[in-house]
Amino acid sequence: MEVTTAFGNEDAAAMVAELRRNFASGKTRSYEWRVTQLKKIVKMVEERESEIVDALRSDLNKPAFESVVYEISMLKSSCKVALKELKQWMKPQKVKTTIVAFPSSAEIVAEPLGVVLVISAWNYPILLSLDPVVGAIAAGNAVVLKPSEIAPATSSLLAKYVKEYLDNSAVRVVEGAVPETSALLEQKWDKIFYTGNGRVARVVMSAAAKYLTPVVLELGGKSPVIVDPDVNLKISVRRIIAGKWGCNNGQACISPDYIVTTKEFAPKLVDTLKRELERFYGSDPLQSNDLSRIVNSNHFDRLERLLDEDKVAGKIVHGGQRDKAQLKIAPTLLRDVPLDSLMMTEEIFGPLLPIITVDKLEDSYEIIMSRAKPLAAYLFTNRKDMKNQFVKTVSAGGLVINDSAIHLTVHGLPFGGVEESGTGSYHGKFSFDAFSHKKAVLYRSFMGDAFVRYPPYTHGKMRLLGALICENILGIFQALMGWSSNSSLKDKTA
């Protein structure tokens, strides 16, 4: 282990104080500053693409294709959306006002929250670090990024290049593990954006509560896949594989975690999965260059524990090969794993895919809804009623019908969890919103002053006010003319 000077509480406090001063100077609020910084992020990932690919290979043995497509291109795409839309996002939004407040105009002004903290995860260490930073910068905040120490090559690459490319007076990277994170969490932030697991999320939210800091928590969960026998099997299976093993070998928060299908259909599904897996990754997937490895030995051991549990070990129907030295596990299918096994109670976050069978497809809902709400849920079907029922019944961060994992590329959709899978959302405009305060601004003149608002209060004032507040035009007229209405207010002189 390399010994570096520890980043303690005082360092964190000094850094935040400095960033607060720089934020107060107002420089991060300007449109120009935001645009320049966003363009620099694009420049950084373009110019350093090969180094990023190398870092991701070193941290996760991530295939270059996945690094470029799911991390670099996604990030560039979100910068591009922000650059294109930023002017629009920053524009105050006009709203209509009610008759009581007439004459007046009202708008909602998006303003930066201040100094924000982004704590990211190791599985998509570039995207999950910089994508929230894009939102924070677009919204005009000063931001500190704490990349995951579990992807050390990417962490140090981020520290190096963020310093080189971005404005250091307002954007910082702090590297480190638990002690550094704790020092950061001791500080007062105006927003904390955390990507990771539910256990740490609880720590983050409790720390945030001390200063009443709002949080976005991007967590995970067991994202189910329901497969209807009435389906285009080959394409469905390919899309499941692309979302499961094609995304960091199952180490993704929206990775399909388990499949539910009918008893009769299961053999056919398993056969097709096997065939397509072999087509994609060869007969010895441990040798394939197109699969990420398991991030470290802790996670390797964790996955082994799931596989080796007594009631699970005999359920493997495909794969199961592992190579501890290289931290590789082959795509593995299991059938009818007991619902109370570790594999079916914990988030798998790896290349194992259990298939649960039910008599009727409708029974899947019971299995899904008896668990915590997942970040994503997938359904493959051609039946319209099945789709409707799925959307109505299943609560999850996001739902995809007839595909997997692809919803996160749609900028118009908020990406985020619910309950155990997280709080808050981001992507596209939602990222901007996550780091903005929506200030209500009401412009009034001194004209049209309603005398009824002022004491001493009388019965007549009360009637008129009642009509005004409820925008009852007839009532206003009646009250002004001194006519009585059938209102029950009649006998209530103040």
Binding site: V69, T97, M205, K210, G412, V418, K439
Partner: protein
């Protein structure tokens, strides 16, 4: 112990109701909102009585600030409900064609609403309206410091609303503590930052999202010279907001006024005359004003005045009647900035006036303090308005009026920093109790082989161009007219 078991049973019952799916139907939501409207209409007298008993609110004030806004909110929710519930369509990129995306509002499930005593009716009903509209099962915990309204709600709500889905639980701090131990899908709290922290810490144990409606010291920038032709209206608005809305016991009440030194004496003179006319000459003849909610708060507010330096700064009022829990409208001129009255939220009828050399300095004054729930500015100077909008931060910002933002349901109501998180009113109330679920529907054809391994240079280039939305090059690549990097 028994209470814990009984509240667990109660919540279990509510969860069963939610599971049955009945609260998610449009009809259920509509019926409940209509029933709530009926409650407000049929029980208006009882509402007035309870509000009078708890804080001495007059009927007009009770209608203007509580029954009226609540009714308006229900009517608004009823007229918009269908639209709010309709999934929002989302534009798609061509690469994913054919597909369809939408955002579906999902009810959170079991939600807890904890309210405060100063607007005990409206602050309970406004969030309740949002929670019903969004299709949740709900527990309302009214403040025990407004006991008459609390028991009114506990007794009346079950007569009108669906008892299997909406419950009112009364009680003090122990009851709140017990409720907070439970797992909720959303907690909506109105009150103080101190309790706000406790609520959020408890919520963290279950990762429950929270909306915290807190307070803060809301300043009024009084740009005297620019509004000199409208002084009469300006001062009326100031006075009615400060003393006419629950006697300053409101989270968006004016806490202190900033004015230029040279206008201080005329401002104070005019205020004195006006206050006497609106609320009475002295403590004996005081009228149209609420009392302080209880002895503890009465002592808290009076204690501000007992600080000798603060007492020396009194220019109007300052007397109180402990028996009736009444405090006279009181104006201070430049109390010490380090005194309690200038560092705590006053929440009472004391109004400090702080002088500045130039009114522009008020921006710095405000920015060195925690972000308030509301900021008010009386000015006709457009350049100054612009500066205030862009250089200060607050939950809401109102020019030339006070507190009126509360009844504009198109504006989000909520704080920032110390003044809270999350927002409500109108559609925002619905959103506060809904999870925005992303739904993506995909077709099967065309299915792009570039998405599937084994990876090669062609697939990489294809995806690169796809993200760039560079369809021309994409087409060229597909036609074999554009080169791509060699395989790894």
């Amino acid at each position: 112990m028994d209470e814990i078991i009984s509240s667990e049973r109660l919540l279990g019952e509510l969860r069963e109701t939610f599971k049955s799916g009945k609260t998610t139907s449009f009809e259920w939501r509509k019926t409940q909102l209509q029933a709530l409207l009926r409650l407000l209409e049929e029980q208006e007298n009882k509402c007035f009585q309870a509000l009078f008993d708890d804080v001495g609110k007059s009927k007009v004030e009770a209608f203007k600030d509580e029954v009226g806004p609540a009714k308006k909110a229900v009517v608004h929710a009823l007229s918009c409900l269908k639209e709010w519930m309709t999934p929002k369509k989302v534009g798609m990129r061509l690469l994913l064609y054919p597909s369809k995306a939408e955002i579906v509002p999902d009810p959170y499930g079991l939600v807890l609403i904890m309210t405060s005593w100063n607007y005990p009716l409206d602050l309970a009903l406004e969030p309740l309206i949002g929670a019903i509209a969004a299709g949740n099962v709900i527990v309302v915990k009214p403040s025990e410091l407004a006991p008459a309204t609390s028991s009114f709600l506990a007794n009346t709500v079950p007569l009108y609303l669906d008892n299997t889905a909406i419950k009112v639980i009364e009680g003090g701090p122990e009851a709140s503590q017990q409720l907070l131990q439970q797992k909720w899908d959303k907690i909506f709290y109105t009150g103080s930052p101190k309790i706000g922290r406790i609520v959020m810490t408890e919520a963290a144990k279950h990762l429950t999202p929270v909306t915290l409606e807190l307070g803060g010291k809301c300043p009024l920038i009084f740009d005297y010279s620019s509004i000199s032709s409208n002084l009469k209206v300006a001062l009326r608005r100031l006075s009615s907001a400060k003393w006419g809305a629950c006697c300053g016991q409101a989270c968006i009440s004016i806490d202190y006024v900033l004015v230029e030194e040279k206008f201080t004496s005329s401002l104070i003179d005019m205020l004195k005359t006006l206050v006497r006319r609106l609320y009475g000459e002295n403590i004996e003849t005081l009228g149209s004003i609420s009392r302080i909610v209880n002895k503890r708060h009465f002592d808290r507010v009076c204690n501000y005045l007992k600080d000798p330096a603060v007492a020396a700064s009194i220019v109007l009022g300052g007397s109180y009647d402990e028996k009736r829990l009444l405090i006279e409208p009181t104006i201070l001129l430049n109390p010490p900035l380090d005194s309690a009255v200038m560092n705590e939220e006053i929440f009472g009828p004391i109004l400090p006036i702080i002088t500045v050399k130039n009114i522009q300095e008020s921006i710095d004054f405000i920015n060195t303090r925690p972000k308030p729930l509301a900021l008010y500015a009386f000015t006709h100077n457009d350049a100054f308005k612009k500066r205030i909008v862009s250089e200060t931060s607050s939950g809401s910002l109102v020019f030339n009026d006070v507190m009126i933002q509360y009844i504009c349901e198109e504006l989000p109501f909520g704080g920032v920093g110390q003044s809270g998180m999350g927002r409500y009113h109108g559609k925002y109330s619905f959103d506060a109790f809904s999870h925005e679920k992303s739904v993506l529907y995909r077709g099967y054809f065309p299915d792009l082989s570039a998405r599937y391994p084994p990876w090669n240079g062609f697939k990489m280039e294809f995806c690169r161009l796809g993200y760039k939305i560079d369809y021309i090059n994409l087409l060229l690549l597909l036609l074999g007219l554009k080169g791509h990097p060699k395989d790894d």
